[in-house]
Subunit: 359 residues, 2 copies
Amino acid sequence: MKNTYVAIMAGGVGSRFWPGSREARPKQFLDILGIGKTLLQMTYERNLALCPKENVLIVTNKAYKSLVLEQLPNLKEEQVLCEPSRNNTAPCLAYAAYKLRKQNPAAVMLVAASDHLVIDIAEYVARVSAAIRFAAENDALMTLGLTPSRPDTGYGYIRFDLKEIENGVHKVTQFTEKPTAEIAQKFVNSGEYVWNSGMFVWQASHFIQQLEALAPDIAAIFHTIENQLNTPTEQAAIDEWYPKTRSISIDFAVMEKAPNVFTVPADFGWSDLGTWNSLHVEAEKDAHDNAVQSDNAHLYDTTNNLIRAPKNKLVIIKGLEGFIVVDEDDVLLICPKNREQEIKQITEDLKKAGKSSFL
Amino acid sequence: MKNTYVAIMAGGVGSRFWPGSREARPKQFLDILGIGKTLLQMTYERNLALCPKENVLIVTNKAYKSLVLEQLPNLKEEQVLCEPSRNNTAPCLAYAAYKLRKQNPAAVMLVAASDHLVIDIAEYVARVSAAIRFAAENDALMTLGLTPSRPDTGYGYIRFDLKEIENGVHKVTQFTEKPTAEIAQKFVNSGEYVWNSGMFVWQASHFIQQLEALAPDIAAIFHTIENQLNTPTEQAAIDEWYPKTRSISIDFAVMEKAPNVFTVPADFGWSDLGTWNSLHVEAEKDAHDNAVQSDNAHLYDTTNNLIRAPKNKLVIIKGLEGFIVVDEDDVLLICPKNREQEIKQITEDLKKAGKSSFL
């Protein structure tokens, strides 16, 4: 337990929740479910069952440092790792791994996204604990595998050997990024595939060893500044060197090529809350299938909507069906739920129209 | 001209424009057309063609005195008549008439609503001028009659003698309040009926004479305090005595019973803007039939809506048809245009729910 660390990745700028999320306040910093806690706060809390609170790191963009410290006041400043540029997940996790290995050569690190939903926390803790135990004793790159609930073509699929090694751990045999619908359906039917959750467990030292072999350019950069990590010059070194790293995901850079990848298939009620629709699916709904994030909404003949409004704002909606209604202080969005993928185009139009201040 | 006065009635609390209008800021005080002027300001300006600006009176509720002076900064305080209670139009016009007769025994007063729309102002001025000339020379109660554009059952209809007396003036022979659809259609087809506009012209002295005959209780109250009108004790006298007057409309109290009622049929593009729908009809619309009162709205596949939002608020609407969308600072209303009559029920529900602060 004292060798276990959690690195929560909180640097993303998801635009699919606009106008709920903004560049200045992405989804992980929002109480997107309307339950009184942000996704980051929920993530932090559920991982406290796995390690001491001083072993939690938040890896984020410099721009969000103060937001992180505001939302997680128990953190010390040195627990917040600040990326000066957005270089995807491989450099992000390399930074955390080098820093942790230097702190504790026996460090086992769990990597968690800051903006996902986990429903069954006991099951989550049990499955992650099994992964941590295995990783502590083996040279292994572990990934939490999610039992697919539908043939979604938006996720990566991981094939695993059906023979259990121990405690629910299986060898990974293949990665498939975003398959066609037909192939996704085959994967789901086979029972041999799980979704790639983006949650990983490994010894920091073993991860670095794999990084040196598979992405030596990234490893070299962190090797250069290793002496300065956990010292007063860490941030200056990171500011200088981090932007030089290649922007690449950990899946492409390491996981898909590494020889010793294992998974713990799990089913703990998970959503990456990637879209307003997925939020509607996960959120609590009234008898008419409306997910309402408002403390003062009156709905009449109104069904199957997602409605979000500022605290205390009186919201009266009549005769509306299947819409997303998001009222933020400076933006009102009304869009059919089944056309939410077009919101991305809208935000691009806004950028072209010189209205980036609303993004 | 110097004997002509305009009394603008601005004491109403129309609830049908909620949440655009509020008890604290009724429709006449709103820029409901989104053109940069409130209905009261538009009314004031169009009547300046008919009389000197010091001859304009605004009769309003005490609660709105400061709003009136704020929106019409050229007014002197004594031009704003403040009713301490809401007693309908007969006492309101009696107050103005007694005050004006004392100021100028030859006063001819035009009565205008503060919250109506007039499109063709030149035609309005011509028709009203004809009425003023006739009223100045005759003991007459004049009403502006509006050529009906449809068999609306919400208005009062006035039958007139087709024989013109002079300058477009006709004798009125009958009042019919809110007819059935069938009867309204007959009225429109006949060409002998006009809508009762609520705009009147008469000599103050003749009006008072008729009031004494037809509503002596109301006349008696103003007779009691006549000495105090246009003196420093006017408001105190009004505060004491006005609430004792009977609450009754000028149509019921006087017009429908008086012997010498005349009308000038007119057609100057009029709307009482009584509903969001009527506002949608009158307002400027885009190519997709959307009336948009917003300086920052982006509409996609969106037709036939009325959309109103605060200045600078970014409004994105996709795939919406036939709705009223009103975003005020503290209230958001989304309601099908063809169900707007149900908004009244909503405001009553709110009252019962203890949410009167939003009304």
